[in-house]
């Protein structure tokens, strides 16, 4: 009797666990692949598009950081085996000013000098459920006024003069992220492929 009761309980527990795990497992199976969204780890402007190619080319000399006037270029000093000593920019702390100095000083092809319009660090994405003007919590426009590229990168919505709208000309420098006053930073730099320009017209 003892053994049968034990076996019954075991089977019941296993069935309950499997039933509880099934939605999670199905969800994991059906979910789109999670892409690393390195919103706080942008490569400097002019970087090779393929990150592995960038790591191949970068020799970790630190020159880009050493010429950066706002000192926005940081380095993976202690983390990441392959990333070690490679540069990144965290626009939430300090954003790129698109001065081109890092591209000029880089000795390798990791950073190559390109026109300002061709820089592709990503594209800004605005969370319209948090941004103050978008949820009608006052007027702001900080991101629009700070943008170094002007209205081809970000401007106001036509029907509401205070709601910012990102345009395709955005190169992802992150000035808007640095200046955004909202504590949860509803504006972030994402990869251009996952930018929401087309579906939501942002």
């Amino acid at each position: 009797m003892q053994r049968r009761r034990f076996l019954t309980r075991l089977a019941a527990t296993a069935a309950a666990t499997a039933a509880a795990a099934l939605p999670y497992g199905l969800n994991r199976l059906l979910a789109p692949p999670v892409q690393a969204a390195p919103r706080t780890h942008l490569r400097p402007p002019g970087a090779l598009a393929d990150d592995q190619a960038f790591i191949d080319a970068c020799i970790g000399c630190g020159l880009c950081g050493e010429v950066c006037p706002p000192r926005c270029i940081r380095f993976h000093e202690r983390d990441g085996a392959g990333w070690l000593n490679t540069p990144y920019i965290n626009p939430e702390e300090k954003a790129c000013i698109l001065c081109n100095k890092c591209m000029q000083v880089c000795p390798t092809e990791a950073l190559t000098e390109i026109p300002r319009e061709d820089i592709d660090m990503g594209i800004a994405q605005i969370d319209r459920t948090a941004c103050y003007p978008w949820v009608d919590h006052g007027i702001c426009g900080a991101c629009v006024s700070v943008c170094p590229l002007g209205e081809k990168a970000i401007n106001f919505a036509l029907w509401n003069q205070y709601r910012p709208v990102v345009q395709t000309g955005c190169v992802g420098c992150g000035q808007c992220v640095e200046v955004c006053p909202h504590p949860s930073l509803p504006i972030a730099i994402v990869e251009r492929s996952e930018g929401t320009i087309t579906p939501h017209r942002i």
């Binding site: 790591i55 191949d56 080319a57 000399c61 020159l63 050493e66 006037p69 085996a81 000795p107």
Partner: protein, 342 residues
């Protein structure tokens, strides 16, 4: 035939080159510490942020302003003239890179990017002529390693034991080969992680301008301890991949140190002082001599000098002022009348 040993005159300035070398090492090291500080100052200037700085930052700003104001009106732009480290630098528009950086990057990227390879051209040409001179005259790690050697001397005087083991000097060629192989496999310039001059330049910048030492400093402290406890100057002698590359490049160097056998008295001080465990007493410099001139400076009879020669100098036998040579001469001359007493 039976002339006594006649000392040859060697150029008197070679003896003082070692001081010049220490000056050079000190200047390079001080520059590596100064450049990040200058960059910090530049960022303050560019941000027009003097009033926002903390009091100690303002003091720092004032000091840097005093230091640089004689040379520049526009620090934010003008101080960009000299940037970088010995790994890769930008001097007044001239880009220079370590040959190991070029080789490592070619291995990691598996392609040839000519503008970058050209930045290593001048160092390579210098190395072809002067041999491993970078290790003795420029490398910022050498500055600390030689101080570390002196520290070991003091520790021995205090009665502590320091390591003086010997390994095979060819290990470092293996490190270079394996490092490049791993660079090819991993696609990242791995040799940079075990190359002390690159580490020092980076860590100085991280510590001063980025607010914290990186992981390389742990490795570097490890090499210092290795040198203290296992083998004197052990990392440079046996492990350093850059030293291996420079040694290979300097195999047929033109400028060499030569022992003037007429002046040598076999005292072996040159062997004792040689940081790279070479054998100057028996003319065995090989490709690993970095022309550091320590043996010239230490030689009591001025028996070391520079020479221009592409191949290794064969062993010249015992020094003419030493006992061994005199005994040999006496043996040869037993059947002949001695003309003079040496």
């Amino acid at each position: 035939m039976m002339t006594a040993a006649v000392p040859k005159k060697t150029f008197f300035l070679w003896r003082h080159l070692n001081k010049l070398r220490w000056l050079s090492l000190t200047l390079v090291f001080a520059t590596l510490l100064l450049l990040p500080a200058l960059h910090l100052y530049q960022t303050y200037v560019a941000a027009h942020a003097y009033d926002l700085l903390a009091p100690d930052e303002q003091r720092f700003y004032d000091v840097m302003e005093t230091l640089t104001s004689p040379f520049t009106n526009d620090p934010a732009e003008d101080l960009d003239a000299v940037k970088g480290t010995t790994w890769s630098a930008n001097l007044f528009g001239l880009k220079l890179s370590d040959p190991l950086a070029a080789v490592g990057q070619v291995a990691a990227g598996r392609n040839l990017y000519t503008p970058f390879l050209l930045t290593a051209l001048i160092p390579v040409l210098f190395t072809l002529v002067l041999g491993r001179f970078f290790c003795g005259w420029i490398c910022p790690a050498t500055f600390l390693y030689e101080l570390n050697t002196n520290l070991a001397v003091w520790l021995r005087r205090l009665g502590l034991k320091t390591g003086n083991r010997r390994f095979d000097r060819r290990i470092k060629y293996g490190v270079l080969g394996i490092g490049l192989l791993l660079s090819i496999i991993s696609g990242s310039v791995l040799v940079a992680g075990v190359y002390p001059p690159a580490i020092i330049g980076r860590e100085a910048y991280y510590a001063i301008a980025q607010g914290g030492l990186g992981v390389g400093s742990v490795f570097f402290v490890g090499t210092l301890l290795f040198d203290l406890m296992v083998a004197r100057r052990g990392f440079c002698r046996y492990v350093c991949p850059g030293g291996a590359l420079y040694s290979l490049l300097g195999r047929f160097r033109l400028v060499r140190i030569r022992r003037v056998v007429e002046n040598c008295n076999d005292c072996a001080k040159c062997n004792a002082v040689c940081e790279f465990a070479l054998d100057p007493l028996h003319d065995d410099f090989g490709q690993e001599c970095n022309n550091c001139t320590a043996c010239i400076a230490v030689c009591p009879t001025d028996a070391m000098t520079f020479t221009l020669q592409l191949s290794d100098i064969p062993a010249q036998g015992p020094g003419h002022l030493g006992h061994q040579y005199r005994k040999q001469r006496a043996g040869d001359a037993d059947d002949q009348p001695r003309q003079e007493v040496a």
